[in-house]
Amino acid sequence: MSSMFDLPTGMNRRHFMSHLAGAAAMAAPAAAFTNTLLANATDLKKRHKAAILLWMGGGPSTMDIWDLKPGAPTGGQFKQISTSADGIAICEHMPLMAKQMHHMSIVRSMSTREADHMRGRYYMHTGYVPNPNVEHPGYGSVIAHELAEQVSDLEIPPFVSVGSGSVGPGFLGMTWAPFVVDSNGNVRNLDMGIDPTRLDQRLRMLETIENKFIGEKRGGSAEDHKKVIDKTVKLMTSKQMEAFKVMKEPKDVQEKYGTTGFGRGCLLARRLVEAGVPFVEVDLGGWDMHADIFPTLADRKLPELDKAMGALVSDLADRGMLDDTAIIWMGEFSRTPNINGGGGRDHWARSWSVVVGGAGFKRGVVVGETSSDGKEVVTEPYSSQDVMASVLKSLGISLETTFTAKNGRPMKIANSGKVIKELFT
């Protein structure tokens, strides 16, 4: 009996059984147990740090959103509007975010080299360029790994990716892999359909087989398999899974975020962070606009982004969560200042913007500057590593942290990126 799969922290066997019973029949969960959890959840909400990455897959044109060049030949069709932050103007199609800019800051001096989707995606998530011999962990895995101790009562995965696969855990191992759900928070195959006692017995049989195979020293993946099973059992039986039920939010709240996939994803992110999840990535794809960029942005993409992001920032602020929750908005790169023959913009990594806010970041400032046509960064350029270092600092994670890759090589967190000082002083 002592060799059960790890039970949810601090539980004895009997407790586990009641736990299972609670999951199997949500209508009548064991009262004492629920109370404990609710108490824990409240406690977590108060104290833990977290980050939400709004990932703009495909590469959004930041000079049409955050760093406009009205009047320049490259400037495109949009006007800029002033915002709640002194001296910051953004795109006219972002009116709701304009009211929240005092909570956020724009880094307009990003300059990177990866303009291929998969390479850029990897680089912006990990701070490293792809390397055939080592897989680096992305934001979600790094932050979940570093903040896990703060949320030791967490029974659901510490890294949730909504609507996209994010980037994997690399050498940190499958324990830190993203848990991928759709924006409705649906988790497939959650219901076991058998009574908890029997599941418990099945798990014991399973463990006998797993242990035999692990004991034969055939390689790390045998052990990894068991670890993931352990996490799955925790998750299947956890009351904290309620956090995924985004449709239980009041209608008016759902409408504030927008009834789009991204809107629900942002609302889900807020619920998950409230429940103690230290890292959530929400994906908004479709920015790869090689043609007809202006109508696509004005009519579809920017309204969806503006509504959801605006609601998320103000909601976190209203709930007192923003000071502990970093928000990062970025894609894998941006788009060419030159407008192509099809009215689109192509891939461009040399001069672009990311947006950050919350947690320990200084708010309502603009960092850096691009040239009048948007083609060059004219101040000190910043990289993926620098953004990552800054996000980690905003969460109080030490930049002295060094991981050991599987091959024994030391890997400095955030690839030794420099903190972007203007975001803190």
């Binding site: 897959g57 495909g58 303009a115 291929d116 989707h117 055939p132 011999n133 080592v134 995965p157 996209s164 696969g165 994997g168 499958m174 892999a177 848990f179 991928v180 497939r188 195959n189 959650l190 219901d191 076991m192 359909g193 029997r198 017995q201 099945r202 798990l203 014991r204 049989m205 399973l206 006998t208 087989i209 797993e210 035999k212 195979f213 692990i214 020293k217 055939r218 390689g219 790390g220 993946s221 045998a222 990894d224 398999h225 068991k226 993931v228 099973i229 996490k231 799955t232 998750l235 299947m236 794809g285 479709g286 790869d288 090689h290 891939h347 890759a405 599987k406 091959n407 024994g408 090589r409």
Partner: protein, 581 residues
């Protein structure tokens, strides 16, 4: 009462079967006593110098052993017959062996049983399984996992691949058919000129065929050129002009949307048309690309080794006077690729990676100078031998699976623990590296283990499998259709294996189903357990496992089929089942 039902590890091996049902277990009882499947039995005919009279196998064994000597490493023992058998079925035909197949192999005492089994798996008996498996593998390679792409017909692609692998057409012709395909991509009523091979390029022609260029180079030449589209590669010798000179070979292709009464795309037709060049002179049909500094440069079709072809953009035709003009650019490209040493190297590396878990380079489709292979002489030597063998894929498979590294145990030993490519080191192949089954192989293996043979094979079965697979697909939201899968050992995969419909089906206790047949057989209880273990894991249970199984029976209060169901669920969910070892 319960104790009377306890399963014991003692069996009566020669007990005659009173039951006349024609089930595969019939012969099983006779084998139970005589064989020790779990022990590290040295397989007959697998001595260290064994190469079964195949010179290419000898070459592999020598090259790999030289690498061990260089690294001061000692190889692990041979895998057991059961392990090797399971492995070779999984890797060659994409499913585990049936109980009958496993038993027949283990019982065979011939020193040549391994080459004989490989011969059978590559022969007529298994041609449907073989074609299905390699169709699965190549569908993902050629068109990815996205089932939503309207520019591609997966059934059309599969039809082409099934036919190619059934006939074992030479690899150079296979490549040529894909790269030069014209015709309709879907096999529909009232549509002439169906050619499933057209699906390789039908969805890759946007923006002048950037994807067609990148994927052709990556898959068939092992060259990663996608980054050089916009700039010279910072880390290797890739130059921007090479990308666009290769791209020039695809400028005659058009991927045309065809409609049939509705607004939805009905099928795609791939055609070759004259390419007039960007300034309208088809005799000198050029393209322009933009340098990072904004300057424009011109490009004509030039192969990656520097070979230029005619600059004409006309497709071949005979003029009225009898003069022949024009050039079929894709055909010229295919001819150059056939002659290139990169083509056989790329496929040898891909196939080696398929069977051994790691290729000679990582990733298998990056053979650039910046990424030196772990065994350069072996890679080159195998590539040459593959060409000499007329690009016969089945021969290449035979060489690899009969080689010594493929036959080694996955258990690491003291002499080779540090050979662990998951740590980023170059692989030395001192033991068999674990890897998880592909999702398709898991699906087929579950059907095999539960003897649901009727659910396997054919296009209907393939569509059903696609539907099941779609739950794992993650699209990245780019124009290039990049995708990934959550079938990677993560929680969603475990949830599927715990609770998904496929597992519910595999563990059902309905009348006439697998568990029902085992439960109702007249085998002793221990033999029933052994049947489950053999069916899924190709080994017998240990004493500890028999004891755990007994606990299950006690827990089910003598409900034997219920206990079998629980045990079967546990076996199918185990690391040992899903990890190819």
């Amino acid at each position: 009462m319960i104790s009377g039902l306890m399963w014991t590890s003692k069996t009566s091996p020669r007990e005659p079967s009173a039951c006349a049902w024609p089930w595969r277990l019939a012969a099983w009882l006779t084998l139970l006593g005589g064989m020790t499947l779990t022990a590290g039995v040295q397989a007959a005919g697998s001595a260290e110098d064994e190469h079964f009279g195949v010179p290419q196998v000898k070459f592999i064994n020598e090259q790999i052993a030289a690498g061990w000597a260089d690294g001061g490493l000692k190889p692990s023992d041979q895998a057991t017959d059961g392990e090797w058998c399971r492995r070779v079925y999984l890797d060659v035909i994409g499913r585990i062996p049936t109980l009958a197949e496993l038993k027949a192999f283990v019982a065979d005492s011939s020193p040549t049983k391994r080459p004989e089994l490989v011969g059978r798996l590559l022969g007529e008996d298994f041609v449907d399984d073989y074609a299905r498996h390699w169709t699965d593998v190549w569908t993902t390679v050629l068109i990815g996992r996205d089932v939503e792409n309207e520019m591609v017909s997966r059934p059309g692609m599969r039809q082409y691949l099934r036919r190619s692998f059934s006939k074992n057409i030479p690899y150079d012709r296979f490549m040529e058919e894909l790269v030069t395909a014209t015709g309709a991509n879907a096999n529909r009523k009232n549509v002439d000129g169906f050619n499933g091979a057209a699906n390789f390029l039908s969805g890759k022609m946007e923006e002048n065929g950037i994807q067609a260029t990148a994927k052709t180079a990556q898959i068939f030449l092992g060259l990663q050129v996608q980054c050089t589209q916009c700039h010279n590669h910072p880390f290797n010798k890739g130059k921007q002009n090479q990308f666009w000179e290769l791209n020039a070979f695809f400028r005659q292709v058009r991927s045309l949307r065809r409609f049939d009464g509705t607004r939805d795309i009905q099928w795609i037709e791939l055609v070759d048309e004259d390419f007039a060049g960007e300034s309208g002179n088809a005799e000198e049909a050029e393209l322009y690309y933009e340098l990072r500094n904004g300057l424009m440069k011109v490009a004509y079709p030039v192969f990656v080794d520097g070979t230029e072809i005619s600059r004409t953009g006309y497709v071949p035709r005979t003029l009225e006077g009898g003069e022949k003009i024009g050039a079929h650019r894709r055909q010229e490209l295919a001819d150059l690729m056939k002659a290139s040493p990169l083509m056989p190297k790329a496929i040898v590396n891909r196939m080696w990676g398929h069977f051994l878990g790691y290729g000679f380079t990582r990733p298998v489709d990056d053979l650039g100078d910046h990424n030196p292979p772990s065994h350069p002489e072996l890679l080159d030597g195998l590539a040459e031998r593959f060409r000499e063998q007329s690009f016969d894929l089945k021969e290449l498979i035979r060489w690899i699976v009969l080689s010594r590294p493929y036959a080694l145990s996955s258990k690491a030993s003291k002499g080779n623990q540090r050979d662990d490519p998951s740590l980023g080191e170059k692989p030395k192949f001192t033991h068999f590296y674990l890897r998880q089954m592909r999702a398709e192989d898991l699906y087929e293996s579950l059907l095999t283990a539960t003897e649901a043979d009727e659910a396997r094979g054919g296009e209907e079965a393939a569509k059903k499998k696609d539907e099941w697979l779609s739950q794992f697909i993650i699209a990245f939201g780019t124009d290039e259709g990049d995708d990934s899968t959550t079938f990677n050992g993560s929680i969603p995969q475990v949830l599927m294996m715990f609770n998904g419909d496929l597992i519910k089906q595999a563990t059902n206790t309905g009348k006439g189903g697998f568990l029902d047949r085992v439960a109702k057989s007249d085998m002793k209880n221990a033999a029933k357990i052994t049947t489950l273990y053999q069916s899924a894991l190709a080994r017998s249970p240990s004493a500890k496992e028999i004891s755990a199984a007994n606990d299950m029976l006690v827990a089910r209060k003598g409900d034997a089929i219920g206990a079998l169901q629980d045990i079967w669920w546990a076996i199918l969910n185990s690391n040992e089942f899903i990890i190819n070892h």
